[in-house]
Every structure is written in C-alpha cells, then in structure tokens.
C-alpha cells in the first residue's frame, strides 16, 4: 500500500511538472510579443519595450520559466499584467467561490447519483428504473447553459422562488449565500446526476450478474447482505473514477453557469484573463485547476485501491 501511494504521488508530481511546462509553453508561444499585445498596435515601440522589460517578458524563455517556478515555490504567483494586483488576490477569491459551488454540487450529486443508480439497477426494468434512466439521460445530454437558462426562467423569473444572481460581491451571511447558490447548484446537479447515476447503475448491474454474486446468493445470504458486502464494493469502482475525473471540470469549467448566474468563479476569471492576455493569471489558474484535478484523481485512486486489492497490491 505504501509503495503504491509513493508511486502514485510521485506520478502526480511528475504530471504537475509537465503541466507547468505545457502551460508555460502555450502561454508564451501563442501570443507573440506580450507588451505589444497589452498596449495595442498604436503604442510607441519604446513604451512597449519598457513594459516588456518591467514584466520580464524580454528575457529568454527558460529564464522566465525558472523565475516563474521560483515564484510558485514561494507561493508567489506573480502579478496580473492587467490590474497589477498579485495573482493570488485575483484568483484567490474566485477560486474560493468556485470551491463553494463545486463542493456543494458534489456533496449533493454524488450520494444522490449513486443512490439513484443503485436503486435503478436493483429495480431494473421497473417504472422507477426507467424514470431515472430517462431523467439522467436528459439531464446530462442538455448543455449546462440550457439547463441553467431553464432554471432561471422557471424558478427565478416565473415563480421567483430563488434569486437569479448568485454574485457574492457584497458581504452576505452564509445562509443568504447558500440561498443564492440554490439555482446554480441545481443546474450542476441536473447535469452530473446523470453521469454518476448511469455509471453506478451499469456497475451494479454488472456486479449483480457476476458469478461471485451468484455464489453469495447461493450461500443463502440475505439479499441486503449480498448487495452491501459483495455487490456495491465492486460496482462502484468505475463510478469513483468518473467522479474523480469530473471534479477538476467542476472547479474550472463552469463558465456558462457562472456567466448566467453572474457568479464570480474561476472559470469566468480565466476567460477574462485569456481575453486580456493576462498570462500570469491564466497560467496560475490553469495550473490550479490542474492541481485540483490531480488531487481529485489521486484521492479517487486511493479510494479505489482501498476497495480493490489488486490495484493496491499489484499482480505479484
């Protein structure tokens, strides 16, 4: 187990290192002259050169990379090209907002999705199974912005039960914040419930048909015990992997939902940074999402390795 952990964490670190190189390369290869990009085509060359010098973007790339890495090592993410604020400030608050949204969405969707999938699988072919299948298929096949727009129109405007703006700009109480987040969370739940439920359902069906399940039933174990002890453990392995890989996206890819509900999240901030050629913000943000993704898959893999000895102990 320890060897597995060390190996897995080592792998995560290597991946992260590669990610920094890729992000750095992309952010430098693509836009060309940073100073010119920021100041526009009509600025005098002299000012552009000065800006490049101040930003350090006139240095050779590897020097820039090493400098950036040194900064990262001291948790100094650099300064925004645009606002001159430290990147930590710019991204920090939006990341916190994203975390709130993603965490709450996961907290609701994961148990609900698994429960739905398991119930559907155990009542395969019944009305409840079909409803769950259709509902989850519909939910995950609609893009988030469509679902979100529907929610805004129905619950926000028509019924006016919940606010349509989730912004956290002003200082508000946690209860108020939660209230404002209801619709965005609902939009995410509708989408991700489908993924998780379908995965869990397929896993449970496979495990129910497995021969070890037959062994357990024919031992005379009660149905509940068979399902708890023999079925679920094997059935949920693929679901865990799916949840882990989706988590990264939940943190950084929610542009549509953030825009519709005017929520100051990481996704929106990164698009803004990309449009402004604000490379330090963009790089740090992408890297941050990478870290979240890495941590999520790492946790997922650890959980899987606890449940599945073969992963943990290897093939001898």
């Amino acid at each position: 187990m320890l060897i597995f952990l060390i190996r897995r964490i080592g792998l995560a670190i290597v991946t992260l290192f590669l990610l920094t190189i890729i992000v750095f390369a992309l952010s430098n290869v693509l836009p060309g002259n940073v100073g010119r990009q920021i100041m526009g085509p009509f600025a005098p060359q002299k000012s552009v050169d000065e800006l490049n010098q101040r930003l350090g973007t006139d240095q050779p790339l590897y020097t820039q990379y090493i400098k950036r890495m040194e900064g990262y090592a001291h948790l100094d993410l650099g300064k925004s090209y645009k606002s001159r604020e430290p990147v930590t400030h710019v991204i920090g608050s939006t990341f916190l907002n994203s975390t709130k949204l993603a965490f709450l969405a996961l907290l609701i969707t994961v148990p609900l999705g698994i429960l739905g999938g398991v119930i559907a699988a155990l009542r395969r072919g019944s009305l409840i199974d079909r409803s769950i299948v259709v509902f989850s298929l519909a939910g995950s096949s609609l893009p988030e912005f469509v679902t979100a727009s529907f929610l805004v129109v129905i619950f926000g405007l028509q019924l006016a039960w919940f606010p349509v703006i989730a912004s956290t700009g002003d200082v508000i109480s946690p209860a108020e914040q939660l209230y404002r987040l209801v619709l965005p969370i609902l939009a995410l739940v509708l989408v991700y419930f489908g993924y998780i439920a379908r995965m869990a359902r397929a896993g449970v069906i496979t495990a129910m048909e497995a021969e070890y399940t037959r062994t357990a039933f024919l031992k005379g174990l009660p149905r509940g015990v068979v399902i708890r002890r023999h079925v679920l453990r094997n059935a949920l392995l693929p679901t865990i992997a799916v949840v882990a890989t989706q988590t990264g996206y939940l943190f950084g890819g929610l542009l549509a939902v953030e825009l519709i509900f005017n929520y100051n999240g990481l996704g929106r901030e990164l698009v803004r940074a990309a449009l402004n050629k604000d490379l330090p913000v963009l790089s740090a943000g992408v890297l941050l999402i990478g870290v979240v993704y890495m941590v999520a898959t790492l946790l997922g893999d650890i959980l899987i390795s606890i449940l599945n000895p073969r992963v943990r102990l290897g093939d001898q």
Partner: protein, 673 residues
C-alpha cells in the same frame, strides 16, 4: 408423519416433468421440455450433453436461481422433501444455506475479487448461525478438509493470489460448509489443467464418501462424468434421452444421440491416419424452435415418420436403464466412419522448421523467468507436432517464439527451410510471415466482427497470397469449398455464424497464403464435441491436401493424439520427452508424461493404478535443483534426481527422453510389455 413424506425424504433431488422457458423479446421459448430424474442420498448423478441442451438450466432451476427471464412453466422440483417451487424467500434462503451447495466453472469468477478468501469462507458459516469467532475456526477446518495444508495463509489472501486449483478448493470448502445433502457441480474442472482436474475430482470423490452428499455433476467432458458418477442422464434439446449407470451408458449406448456423441470423440488412440471421426449430421436446434415429438428426429439416421409425431416412450431395457427412442433396438446397426487406408510414404517430407537451443527468458521484476530452455526440435513437411504440458510448461511460449511474437534469447536458432528466421515477426520477410500462420481457440477474437466473411477472406488472400481481383475471387471460391463453407456464408458477418463455422472461416484465413506451418492453439476447445469432430476432420483433410505442417496445442490429449504424428512433452520450459505419437502414448513414457496421461479422465474408464501428481507446478523463478520434475515425480530416485539434471537422450529410434531412469526399468515400472 405420513408415509408419502418419508418416501420423498429419501430422495435428495427429484425433478418431475420439469419445463422451463426463457422469455426472449416477450415470447416464452421452451428450454427444458419435461426433465425428470431422481438423485438418491450418497449418489452421484451426471448430466451430459452439448451446450444449449439445458444441463445448466436444469441445475439453476433446481436451486431456483434462473435468470430473470427464465421461469418454470410446468412440473415440480423436490429437494429433501421440500417443494422448491412453493418455498417462501426466507425458507429458500435457509435451504440454500443449509442443504444445497453449488460449485461451478471458473473459480476465479465465483470468488469475490475484492474480499479476502477468509472473509468469504467465514461468511458461509456465519450464515448458518455461528458467531464470528466460531466461524473463523470452522473456516480453517474447512480448508483443511479440502486438503489445503497452510490454511491460514490461504485465508489471508485475495482470490487472485491463488492458483486455479487452489481457488476451486476454496469454493468447494465453502460449498461443504453446511454439510449439504445435495452438492451441484457445474463444469467444476473445465478450464483447469489435467493434473489439477484430477486432483479436484479425487477430492470430490473422497469428500462424497466422507459426507454422503448426493452429487449432481454437469460436464461436457464425458470422462469427468464417468470418473465421478454412478448414474448418468444424456440430455438433448431440453429432454433426457437416455439414462442409466454411467459405465453401461458409455460402454453400450442405446440412444442414437448418445452413440453419436461417443463416436465424435477422438478416443482409444484414434489418429487421423487411421480414420475420420464421426460427426452428427445437422446442428443443435436454436432456442425457440418447434421440435418434432422426438427432439432428436431431425438429426437421426434411424428416424421414421413415427418419430415426428409420437413422443418416444420410456423403454426400460435392463435394470436401471431407460431409453427414450422408438428404434433403440436398431442402434447397433448404426455405421461408424470407415477406417481409411493409412497414408504412407509421402506423408512426411523434408525438414521445414528447425529449432536449435531455443530459449526465452522473461524479466519479472528483478527475477529472470526461464520460460523455454534450450529446445531442439525439427518439424517435417506435412507432419503434426503436438505440444503437451500443464499451463506454465512453455507450450504457448514456444509457439509464440516460432510465430515471432516473442523474441528469443541470444543463441537461439529458428530456421525455416534452412533459412534463419529473425526473432520478431516484424523483422521477418513477407514470405516467412506468410509461411507461419495460427488458428486460435476463440475464432471470435480472431475475426473482424464488422466485416463479412468475404471481406475477411479477401483481405487474407491479398495480404498473405498477394492476389486480388478476379484471381482472388477464384481462389476464394476454392478456399471456401475446401473448408466446407457454403457460398451463402460469404456475405454473413461472424456474429451470424456458429462457433464451428467461425472456426472454418479462421482456418480458411490461415490457409489463404499456402502456409508451410500452421500453429493450432486449442483449435477446438471452445466447440462442442460433434462440431469438434468436424473441425478435426477438416484440419486433417487440409493438411493432406496442402502438405502443411501443424503445431497443435491442446489440453485435450485425445485431440492431440488424433492430429499428431509426433509429441513433445514440456515441463517448466524443458523438453522432457519427444517422440512418435503412438510411442509416447503407448509408453514406456517419461514419468511426467505418464502422470499427465493418467490424470486425464477417460470416457472408457480409468485404469485402477493411476499415478497421482501432488503439489503445484514449482515457480519458474525458484526452480528445483537437478531434474526440475523431481519435486513432483512419483518415480524419483533419491540422491540422483535432485542433484543432477538428466540430459535429453534417444531411448529408441526418434524417441527422446530426459530421465535418469533407464528405459527398461520404466518399462517394468509402467507394466508395459
């Protein structure tokens, strides 16, 4: 208690006119069409028949574990005096936990991969009401009972860390937890090595004597049934067509189907040179087909109009034997395939393949695993070499080395027509690649499912023979004809073909480029015996016509014996014996060969003095000293065998053996005159 209850109580399992149907797209399709038999306490009853005849359905219906779309439509099932069809869910559970147990094929699947063996065995006892602590003690005893010496070590492991034989022992230990009155074994040794199979079967026999449980054994391997069972029922299309004492049914079959089934088998030393194998004309009816009154009528040579309209009555021919056939009295007139004139002279040509010092070492972590050690072999044109040995003996590695899938170690020489071959296929010439082809066990994985048979074979012709267009069309027609596929099969996709037809397509593909050597890796293991016979005949015909050489790998020694001219016996990557097939089988043999041959259960009954191999195949990482077989050899000479590895020496003309015991002594030891 009433008298009726006590009489039924003496029967462990009683099926009475059982009908089972599976719903396929809403329509019930009959699978069992009135199955009746009884098993008495302490008795072992075997159900035999080809796949799809309803053997397993019978077993699962008996324990009420049919798939969701299956249901009993008529008849009754009585186990230990209880009407199974009327049991409530808790009563059924109680019965399953305390009275009936089941062991089935592929133990690696029937154990939960994510739970330790111990917890799974313990569970079988806690369900009986034992406390956790008691159950743990019981679990250990249970493993001792199935002759697992180091029980605690096994309990602490996960299923995948055990060998197949060990896994099956664990499953049997769980099955015996409740001292069942009825033990159902569904293909319990299919997929296990012959030696392991023999051990498991011996264990079942011993435990049966110890526990007095009634046994229902389902197996497609008639030898397994003969070794274990007192009585046997032969099933065809959901009906029992013949029933009686196992030895008598197999030695003197009275139903045309049983006769056909037994004649399909390559047995009693049958070889391609002497005779073709019998086949049963036609094919098994598809599920849902409306069948004539006698279910076998369509494929029966003796069938008359009566068979179509009148259900054959049960005929008691002699004590304990029942046959359901109108013409059982005429069965003796059924003609077997005639002997054919032995092919002599031109049968074996010049050397095609020459192997010298072929070794293959795998790296496993920091260890070196020597999967093949200095193998020297020659293969002549038109000759078949059978490779024999347990899994892990190096059969497949040798075949892969010849095919160029594995690069061999430095110093290994593989020559094709006196030309040295590169180690890997990719480095070989096109001609060399074309010259060596393979036929797999599972044609499904070898054939592209999205292509028609025509497209598959055209591609093979283009790739292997380098022909296309009209010429390819003509060659395709003759190739199709050679493998006895009809032109209408050409536009079908593999999915629509039966296993036998798929294997024919695979054979046609392998022969597309006029190969010199065809490696047949378990070519018929996935097929029913009647289909197997047809494929073996086809392979023999193709060889005669094309003068191709075969390398045959099969765990079924009957199949190897039938196709092979020479046999190579491998153990831990070493050639232990090599010689003409007839001599290797007749003996005197290498003690390992002797043990292998004696492990295989024969449908003709076993000799009384079987050799039993004990212990598992040693790990190739930690090889025994001296002769690698000495740890399991029943004839090992103390002081010699563990010290010195014997050389491979010629004991008679063309017959090589790697053993310290002189051939004449082996002859005496093995009672061969």
């Amino acid at each position: 208690m009433s008298t009726t209850e006590t009489t039924t109580d003496t029967v462990a399992l009683k099926l009475d006119d059982l009908h089972v149907a599976y719903d396929v797209r809403g329509i019930p399709r009959p699978v069992l069409r009135g199955v009746s038999f009884e098993i008495h306490p302490g008795e072992a009853y075997g159900l035999v028949g080809e796949s799809g005849c309803g053997k397993s359905t019978t077993a699962y219906a008996a324990v009420r574990y049919l798939p969701e779309n299956g249901h009993v439509t008529d008849g009754s099932i009585t186990i230990a005096g209880q009407d199974m069809l009327k049991l409530s869910a808790p009563d059924l559970r109680a019965l399953r936990s305390s009275r009936i147990s089941m062991v089935y094929q592929d133990p690696s699947q029937s154990l939960n991969p994510t739970i330790k063996v111990g917890a799974q065995v313990v569970e079988a006892f806690t369900v009986l009401g034992f406390s956790k602590a008691e159950a743990k003690v019981k679990a250990k005893e249970a493993l001792h009972r199935v002759r697992i010496a180091d029980a605690q070590q096994v309990l602490d492991r996960y299923p995948y860390q055990l060998s197949g034989g060990m896994q099956q022992r664990v499953v049997i230990a769980m099955a015996l937890a409740c001292d069942p009155q009825l033990l159902i074994l569904d293909e319990p040794t299919t997929g296990l090595d012959a030696t392991v199979e023999a051990e498991v079967l011996d264990l079942v026999s011993t435990l049966r004597q110890e526990t007095g449980a009634a046994v229902l054994l389902i197996a497609h391997n008639l030898g397994v049934v003969r070794r274990i069972c007192d009585r046997v029922g032969v099933m065809y299309a959901g009906k029992i067509v013949e029933e009686g004492p196992a030895a008598e049914v197999f030695d003197n079959p009275q139903h045309p189907y049983t006769v056909g089934l037994l004649r399909c088998l390559p047995r009693r030393g049958a070889n391609k040179v002497e005779r073709r194998l019998d086949t049963i004309p036609g094919s098994l009816p598809l599920i849902g087909t409306v069948l004539p009154a006698c279910v076998f009528q369509d494929r029966c040579v003796l069938a008359t109009e009566e068979c179509r309209t009148v259900a054959p009555p049960a005929t008691q021919s002699e004590a304990g034997r029942t046959v359901y056939c109108h013409h059982a009295d005429k069965v003796s007139t059924l003609v077997a395939a005639p002997l054919q004139a032995p092919v002599t002279g031109d049968g074996v040509g010049e050397i095609v393949l020459h192997l010298e010092n072929v070794s293959k070492t795998f790296k496993q972590g920091h260890h070196e695993v020597r999967a093949l050690v200095d193998v020297d072999l020659d293969l002549r044109a038109g000759e078949t070499l059978g490779l024999v040995g347990e899994s892990g003996s190096g059969k497949t590695t040798l075949a892969k080395a010849i095919l160029g899938i594995h690069a061999t170690d430095a110093g290994s020489v593989i020559e094709l027509d006196s030309q040295t071959l590169a180690g890997l296929t990719t480095a070989r010439t096109r001609d060399a690649r074309r010259a060596i082809q393979i036929i797999f066990q599972n044609p499904d994985s070898a054939l592209n499912r999205s292509k028609t048979v025509r497209a598959i074979l055209e591609r093979a012709l283009q790739k292997l023979a380098g022909i296309r267009g009209q010429e390819a069309g003509m060659r395709l027609a003759s190739l199709t004809d050679e493998v006895r596929l009809s032109p209408r099969h050409l536009d079908m996709r593999p999915r629509a073909l039966s296993g036998g037809l798929k294997q024919r397509v695979a054979i046609a593909g392998a022969f597309a480029g006029g190969p010199r050597i065809v490696v047949c890796d378990e070519p018929t293991s996935a097929l029913d015996v009647s289909v197997q016979a047809a494929i073996l005949n086809l392979l023999a015909d193709m060889q005669r016509e094309e003068q191709a050489s075969y390398i045959v790998i099969s765990h079924d020694l009957g199949v190897v014996r039938y196709l092979s001219d020479r046999i190579a016996v491998l153990y831990l990557g070493r050639l232990m014996e090599l010689g003409p097939a007839a001599e290797v089988f007749a003996g005197p043999h290498h003690p390992y060969t002797e043990a292998l041959l004696s492990a295989v259960p024969s449908v003709d009954g076993d000799p009384p003095d079987r050799i039993r191999l004990t212990g598992e195949l040693p790990s190739a990482i930690n090889l025994p000293s001296g002769c690698v077989f000495h740890t399991r050899c029943p004839r090992a000479i103390k002081g010699t065998c563990e010290a010195l590895e014997p050389p491979l020496v010629e004991v008679s003309n063309g017959h090589m053996m790697r053993c310290h015991i002189p051939i004449d002594e082996l002859r005496t030891l093995q009672h061969i005159d």
